[in-house]
Symmetry: C2
Subunit: 336 residues, 2 copies
Amino acid sequence: MPTPDTIHLPDIKDLLKPVQPHLVALNFYLNEEVNAFEPEVREFARYCLRHTGKQLRPTLVFYSGWQDAISAPNPQLVRVAAILELVHQATLVHDDILDGASIRHNSPTLNEEYNAHTAVLLGDILFSHALKLASDFPTVTVCRAVSQATRRVCAGEIGQTFQHRSPKVSLVDYYRIIDLKTAELFRVSCELGAEIAGYPADFVKAAAVFGRHLGIAYQIFDDLADITGKEATIGKTLGTDLQGGKFTLPILLLLEKLEVMQRQTLVEEMQSGRANTAKWANPIREYGIPALVKNAFFDEIAKAESALLPYREFPPFKQLMSLSSFIKYQTETIRV
Amino acid sequence: MPTPDTIHLPDIKDLLKPVQPHLVALNFYLNEEVNAFEPEVREFARYCLRHTGKQLRPTLVFYSGWQDAISAPNPQLVRVAAILELVHQATLVHDDILDGASIRHNSPTLNEEYNAHTAVLLGDILFSHALKLASDFPTVTVCRAVSQATRRVCAGEIGQTFQHRSPKVSLVDYYRIIDLKTAELFRVSCELGAEIAGYPADFVKAAAVFGRHLGIAYQIFDDLADITGKEATIGKTLGTDLQGGKFTLPILLLLEKLEVMQRQTLVEEMQSGRANTAKWANPIREYGIPALVKNAFFDEIAKAESALLPYREFPPFKQLMSLSSFIKYQTETIRV
């Protein structure tokens, strides 16, 4: 039986290679759009979009609408990808205000570099421009899907705000919130990619199910990384959930395992903002929390992948599977 | 020649009487929509929409799409009115965060009653739900108009933020900003009202011109009221522009009139946030600033009304003219 270190991992760069020309086309397109903004806001919009990040949502759009015969980026898919990226960036800009975050991608947030006024309004502008691009399609399909998804994402974030420091959060609550705040944009990216590329309705539905479960898995990975990951590997500040009183899956599973007294201590620490990841590292390891969370992660990956199994012959199949491998690969980098 | 007190003013209630059943239908519709929101956000959305305010934008929609033969509210116009009201409410929710405002319509703002997290996200939800309603029309016309208008409103507000305390603001800058931040939603309300009701393209354009100039006039009135109005008549805190370093039309005109030394004093006071309306009340009166601002107001009203003159036979003509009278009437209540 192979030890974890000998498990064969695919080369991460190869997995996302096919999407690169499409992402280049996307970033060229976004740049052109920003240049056509009102002069009052161009500078801020450029500042905000200057770091491209992982662009997972655009990648989902391109891969769900993949057509082997067509090598040049499909302008319709580029537009859908731009819409989803703008909505995602808008939520990040607003999140950074809410969190009082001063750094993202190793440079000052918009909030920090300019002010909260500009950040609130620029988020609004990115949202409304996304919907303007959606209205450039001949039908209302994209507008409807994107506006509804945006409302659901924000409802999820409000729900999360009110779960803050509340020990009454259940596993059902946790899954509902991440379904809204994270999985919704993954889901709609896949749905619209497949639909705009002209795939049949049953495949569009399957792609949406794939996206949704991949999104849930991705959030579970993110929550696990926050509590057990290494900052150098993950590339952002970790340990914020315990300290911030956010009852994520690893924390909920730990609470289930702890003895009554310890459970009470952890809840009290989280409610008062004193909980500290280092202190709880031992119980987390002893109770095997990372393995339990990884099980939950792989359950979602399995649901995502199995939705696509009837569509092996479709060109998006291979691409979407490679993205799912990419996310599994990231999870493997978490060692405890 | 009549003195100001003997000028015949139309009865303000009669002017807006015809729109009342339509506003009732609008508020019923908005209520139903909010009830269908995610449970996480219903309470906040209700809180936010509980005071209806003047609903000028919905009134513009109903009056621009007026049809004498049809007395029951047109459901299409109700939906457009709801969209514009939601966008307007979203901008108010976000403005209240930016201004740190704690009171609107005599009760705590969302920001104050809950927290800034909720206010940012709820504004986003109202925006995105407006666009979702826009996508319920069979074509992308409403989505496109509303998303573009929203982007322009926010660009205007960002522009205004960066004019803050800047004595380099010119009259051209002032008009550009109010055209974006206020006139744009008035314009698009009239345009969509006329279009959805099926009026011909030339009338739709004329209605849009009417709305735009009415919006500019309305902002000029608002800026005059801030500096010379009585709080009891206007119904909100006044005198905030001078103190807040906002170079509005009355202030720009006063600066043009002042001697060099006085001008420098006012600019310095505004830049440091020490300017006080009571101190400048005399120069404002002596230089006849209110009369000059009223001239600018009536110039815009004249542009608005003359756009409609070729359409005297159209049912919206009488209604829109009565709304313009309503706004003129409000201006007459400002005495200095």
